[in-house]
Amino acid sequence: MRPTTPLHRPHPHESARLHVTGGALYVDELPEARNARIGLIVPAGVAHGRVVRIERSRAESAPGIDAVLLASDIPGEALIGPIAHDEPVLAGDEVRYAGQPIALIVGESLEACRDAAGLMRFEIEELPATLSIAAAIAEESFFGDPHIIRRGDVEAALESAQTRVEGELSTPAQDHFYLETQAALALPLEAGGWQIFSSSQNPTEVQQLVARTLGVGRHRVVCDVPRMGGAFGGKESQGALFACLAAIGAARIGRPVKLRLTRREDMAMTGPRHPFWSTYEAGFDRDGLIQAFKVATYADGGFSLDLSPAILSRALFHLDNSYYIPTLRFEGRICRTHKPSTTAFRGFGGPQGMAVIEDAINRFAERTGRDPTSVRVRNFYGEAPRDRAPYHQRIPEPRLSRIHSELSADAEVESRASEIAVFNAGSLHVKRALAFQPVKFGIAFTNRILNQAGALVHVYRDGTVQVNHGGTEMGQGLHTKMQVVCADELGIPLDNVRVMRTSTGKVPNTTPTAASSGSDLNGQAIADACAKLRARLGPVAAGMMGRACDEDLCFEGDRIATTDAERSVPFHEVAMQAWLERVSLSATGYYATPGISYDIEAGRGCPFFYFAYGGAFVEVALDGRTGRHRLLRVDILHDVGNSLVPSIDRGQIEGGFLQGVGWLTCEERIESPDGRVVTLGPSTYKIPAAGDAPRELRIRLLDRAGESRTIGGSKAVGEPPFMLALGVVTALRQAVAAFDGRTASEVELRLPATPESLLRAIETRAG
């Protein structure tokens, strides 16, 4: 490591000072938003119906109202969507979910808009609605064909297995609950131009869909993302709708319009994590090795396609989690229902897939009285032939066994297990349990095309630098990492590098900041741009030092030096000299991840660039009287390669883990029988609060873990830790079982494992 590089060292978030002083601005608060009119979206209010008549004249003439827009007022194309264009910007003839926007009111204040909304009249003929996965299956209401991955004769292998475990698992929806709700601002400019500000992970898609909705070329629209107050996948595709609505409102009145959803609106209008329902059969041999795994899984896609096919693929790709499965058949389908369109959410189907095999292993261990940790470890990927994923990609150097053994020592598992046994023997109404959870997570967009990124780096004559890249900042620390990468590449101080807000005008045709790949892709693109700049600055510096122009130089400590360190010149002097010599100080960079391919028909290929690994030991205490539990201690060992910024990675691990805990334990999205979301705010939808965090949390980053082909040897970290929370379920199941001491019997625990669900699990066993 070079002495002055900021790489691989802890740094605060690049906006931390702004966050704590209130100076960090989000879309709704930008100076450009100050004189904007306000948009209010009117939801249809029925899950499925035919629009007979909409009466808007009273609302239009209400005080403070500029315009009321309906589907027929959209200047360009009426349909948008990230893969298929199947989402109306405003409902036209048909309403397909209760929160669906049907009208847009634009006025001088939110209050005026709300008053006007009360004056609108809708006549909507209600139609039968499909509101569950079960109903969709019964009605054969699906999107597309099944996705199938298979290897060997699964029926025969199940037949010959020593133990066969059958199960069924529903994993719940999860609202993103980013603290900043969806927001957008549209400003009409001169000559038909548009400036859009969007709280979006995908400004290029916003640009594209706004252009489409307005019926103009993409060159007329620039979309900027200042920062997001959290996104977690919820703003990968679903921010676009609100930008399009703001744009059509602004086009209509010829003035800037901004939209920021209330929490209730956000929770009613946008879609959560896909609920999945899966049935499975798993066959194990007498050593507890998985012989065969057959899974049929159904994802509730909601009313439109959104990103569901990619999410389903990733779920299927993670049905193996960390375990080698010789014979298998995985089949997945996407259900079409009359609900908000479900969408990307940290893990992107991975958690839903992994939960299935973890359930199978739990049931197997419970039924046969085996130690669930040993079953897991025994089934890890390993040497050939145990190194082939279900989709046939080779898993090189799985770090699972190493993680397990190091973590077992870190977490003092042996002594704690006996302490827990003693505790449980002496405690009637509270039981403890300790469980292990491994995670293997594939990194790359499974859609090959998305694995590309661009950057634009400007050096100014004083030696300071602006970096533009295609990634967006949602709190994950991407800008911090990119600032560090750029400073490292040019050998200049961190303070001299400024990461600019994401703009489609600076770096075009970007892909979403998602799939944990933001720093992998954009870091490489920035490195590429910096390499070009070094190649241009090198000869200038060499000339200044009286050296040959092709001499290798070292960019380090805000200077450019000869490799023998005999001579050096300050970076800023070289920048100035380059300008005087008419050498370009600005460079673009580009990166495309090599070697990714997948054949969906055959269910084979190499969808991933590499794999990230992690492991957790989770200890819970469960109160048998109330069903409440506590996370007593969690130990995590995570493989982030050679971390770009360890403090940021730790933050991702800690936050991701607790978000996973929320998904599996307290977050319960409840819908009414007629398809309305009931839990529309934090008073009823409970994400983890501070008191739900583990009492004790120890996180360690795996050392000696550098990855060969990535930026700085680092690995992605955004999503993988989320799935470590599955260990909480295993631990809770063990705690439930501890109440009656019966071995060799399965636990029936519905997810999320709320106190009610846990109490029922305990009482069900009690008979």
Binding site: H13, E29, G230, G477, G651, P682, P688, T754
Partner: protein, 473 residues
């Protein structure tokens, strides 16, 4: 012409047009363009909007209180000293709590952060962090979706009670009950009245205007049936000093209706531990700083947390009106779903709570989906009296979440009377729950879960007594 005047980060703000019922949050963001304070929910449940107000009337002298600005009426800000996230740093120099958050990595997306900063600001100025749970309670009202809370907890631990230099200290004694007359203000046709003395209250209430009494407004602001903006006249009780405070008599405590829950919690720690333990899991620190005892009773929620305790303790409610005062038993205060014995133009002035005697044992429990900042699925409070033979000679047992109002459990009580405080007795008592209640199911829990919880809480209470060996403390 009257105007709302308050200190905002040390500067005076005057407002003479805005509606008094808009929230301070909306006023800061929409009217003043001060965007540091965030809106995450507008229902008091996320803490992103947290600001700090000076409370000159606290028993030990003026204190800072972190409150949800989405629940504070602009009218209530009059005369107060408000600090927002923008008011902390001096130039480039961060305030110690900001500095600690940066150093511990306490912000990721940063949207919850201004609220966290203000909660920690209160923490820095508190002097009562004698137990670890108080620090947990301090940050329980700030949801963060990014960090997993560890770094926030670490920063909180570091700054709690550090008493940093305070350039606003001279303003700390300004508040609603400060010197002066009743405060009256009208904006956009809506009136806001804050009398200084009880006598002046009746005039304010006696008008024809559609009128509402404002306590801490944590319920009022969110009332869907009567949104605050539709109320003709808001009559605030916060200026009337005599309605606030806890008087600890030897036999009986008198708790003023306008006592903030946080103040009651502190008072109850010594003398009424049952009440203190219930208040530990009441809302959040911010809610407890704003919400009042009177408001909690008058809103008459079936899952209001104080009611089961007051029912078990055998409290009575002191009602006041122009005609004078009357005292009724808490048993007769709740008359139906969200209905009380309050007459028009009558207020709750205080609650009288008998202090448990030596031979009485009490405890309170609250179970919800999430441990902190959640409404109870079922809550319960118990007070039993042990007679001479060691048998149970008195039992007052009350539940929240089991019926349309917080209610006593007569069959459970009857089963216990005269029996030994043994596990068999409590098992029999638990079985009697079904004769007392037919709970409903909703998004907080099914009917059967509620029944099971209520039974188990009776058993839990039984165990806690057994553990004490049946001795009153």
């Amino acid at each position: 012409m009257s105007c709302i005047r308050f200190h905002l980060n040390g500067k005076t703000v005057e407002e003479s047009r805005a509606r008094p019922s808009i929230t301070l949050l909306d006023y800061l963001r929409v009217h003043l363009g001060l965007y540091g304070t965030k809106e995450g929910c507008a229902e008091g449940d996320c803490g992103a909007c947290t600001v700090v107000i000076g409370d000159p009337g606290a028993p030990g002298g003026p204190v800072y209180r972190a409150v949800n600005s989405c629940l504070l009426l602009l009218g209530e800000a009059h005369g107060r000293h408000v600090i927002t996230v923008e008011g902390l740093a001096e130039g480039e120099v961060l305030h110690p709590v900001q500095e600690a958050l940066v150093r511990h990595g306490g912000s990721q997306c940063g949207y919850c952060t201004p609220g966290v900063v203000m909660s920690l600001f209160e923490a820095a100025h508190r002097a009562d962090f004698d137990r670890p749970w108080k620090l947990a309670d301090q940050i329980s009202g700030n949801l963060c979706r990014c960090t997993g809370y560890g770094p926030i907890r670490d920063a909180a631990k570091e700054v709690a009670g550090c008493q940093p230099p305070d350039r606003y200290a001279v303003l700390l004694s300004d508040g609603p009950a400060g010197p002066g007359e009743s405060f009256r203000y009208t904006g956009e046709g809506q009136e806001f009245v804050r009398p200084r003395r009880l006598e002046d209250l009746w005039d304010a209430l006696d008008s024809d205007a559609r009128c509402a009494v404002a306590g801490g407004t944590t319920d009022l602001v969110l009332d869907a049936k009567q949104p605050a903006r539709t109320i003709g006249r808001l009559v605030s009780l916060s200026g009337i000093e005599e309605l606030r405070g806890v008087e600890k008599g030897e036999r009986r405590w008198s708790i003023g209706a306008m006592t903030p829950l946080a103040e009651l919690e502190e008072a109850a720690e010594e003398g009424l531990p049952m009440l203190a333990s219930m208040l530990r899991y009441f809302g959040s620190r911010q809610i407890k700083n704003l919400g009042t005892v009177g408001g909690n009773l008058c809103t008459a929620s079936p899952v209001g947390d104080l009611a089961p305790c007051f029912l078990a303790l055998g409290a009575s409610v002191i009602l006041a009106s122009r005609g004078g005062r009357r005292e009724i038993s808490i048993d007769r205060f709740f008359t139906g779903y969200r209905e009380t014995a309050l007459q028009p133009r009558e207020i709750v002035a205080s609650v009288a709570v008998p202090v448990p005697r030596e031979n009485e044992i009490g405890a309170a429990f609250k179970v919800c989906k999430r441990r902190e900042l959640d409404i109870a699925t079922v809550s319960a409070a118990f007070l039993i009296e042990l007679g001479n033979e060691g048998k149970i000679s008195g039992a007052r047992i009350a539940f929240g979440g089991m019926a349309a109002t917080p209610s006593r459990a007569p069959s459970v009580e009857a089963t216990l009377l005269g029996s030994e405080p043994s596990s068999a007795s409590f098992a029999a008592a638990a079985a009697a729950i079904d004769s007392d209640f037919e709970p409903i199911g909703d998004h907080r829990g099914s009917a059967s879960y509620r029944g099971a919880l209520a039974r188990n809480l009776v058993l839990e209470f039984g165990d806690s007594i057994e553990m004490r060996g049946g001795e009153a403390k």
